[in-house]
């Protein structure tokens, strides 16, 4: 079964450093997402991406965050200057949205645990 892959599984960084989280969505999907979950809290939407541009973003997704699809397979989340409160599990997802019927759902990667020290 096709799956979303994320690298690295764990990332430790110093406050103020830049990090790039990488994802390879399912190949025929068109919508890509980043979500995060701070320990003990809800899964929070960050951003959705379609047709090489951001389609929706949340209040969390401020100027410190950016996303990119540098080639036909990778989808990255960059945090320019990490803060302590950015520590969370970051999930990439892709969707078969637009296929019609009841088949729209998100397929998640296994996540990147980001720890900002």
């Amino acid at each position: 079964e096709p799956e979303v892959t994320q690298t690295p599984s764990h990332q430790v960084t110093q406050m103020g450093q830049e990090v790039i989280l990488r994802c390879v969505p399912i190949s025929n999907h068109l919508y890509f997402y980043w979500y995060r979950q701070i320990l003990g809290q809800k899964v929070e939407f960050l951003v959705s991406f379609y047709n090489n541009e951001i389609s929706e973003k949340s209040e969390i997704f401020d100027d410190q965050f950016s996303v990119e699809r540098p080639d036909g397979s990778n989808f990255t989340l960059k945090i320019r200057s990490t803060k302590l409160e950015d520590s969370a599990m970051y999930f990439c997802a892709s969707s078969d949205w637009g296929s019609g019927g009841l088949n729209e759902k998100l397929f998640f990667g296994s996540g990147t645990q980001l720890s900002v020290l």
């Binding site: 809290q41 929070e44 949205w97 009841l102 998640f108 996540g111």
Partner: protein, 112 residues
């Protein structure tokens, strides 16, 4: 703004009995609902979904019920098995959007 709420952070059920996980939502524009299961150190995996045109959807041991007037849905697992022990997330989306809103999750423990 918590548009999808799961008010029970945890639930324990005896093996073989029914597990009922509840979810409430506030946005009347939501018309598609999903349940995801998450094991530790893994990403959420899709379990079952329901459209607002239906009030019940069944898949094996899993059944989702939707009460639109109450803005409430529930996931029934019967019979519950130890392998069902995981965190269950309810999610919702609206027809005119492509964003899924998640609840905070309910941790289910099925006791052998």
């Amino acid at each position: 703004d918590q548009q999808v709420k799961q008010n029970s952070p945890s639930l324990s059920v005896q093996e073989g009995r029914i597990s009922i996980l509840n979810c409430d939502y506030t946005n009347s524009m939501f018309d598609y609902f999903l349940w995801y299961k998450k094991y530790p150190a893994e990403g959420p995996t899709f379990l079952i979904s329901i459209s607002s045109i239906k009030d019940k959807n069944e898949d094996g041991r899993f059944t989702v019920f939707l009460n639109k007037s109450a803005k409430h849905l529930s996931l029934h697992i019967v019979p519950s098995q130890p392998g069902d022990s995981a965190v269950y997330f309810c999610a919702a989306s609206a027809y005119n959007g492509n964003q899924f809103y998640f609840g905070t999750g309910t941790s289910l423990t099925v006791i052998p």
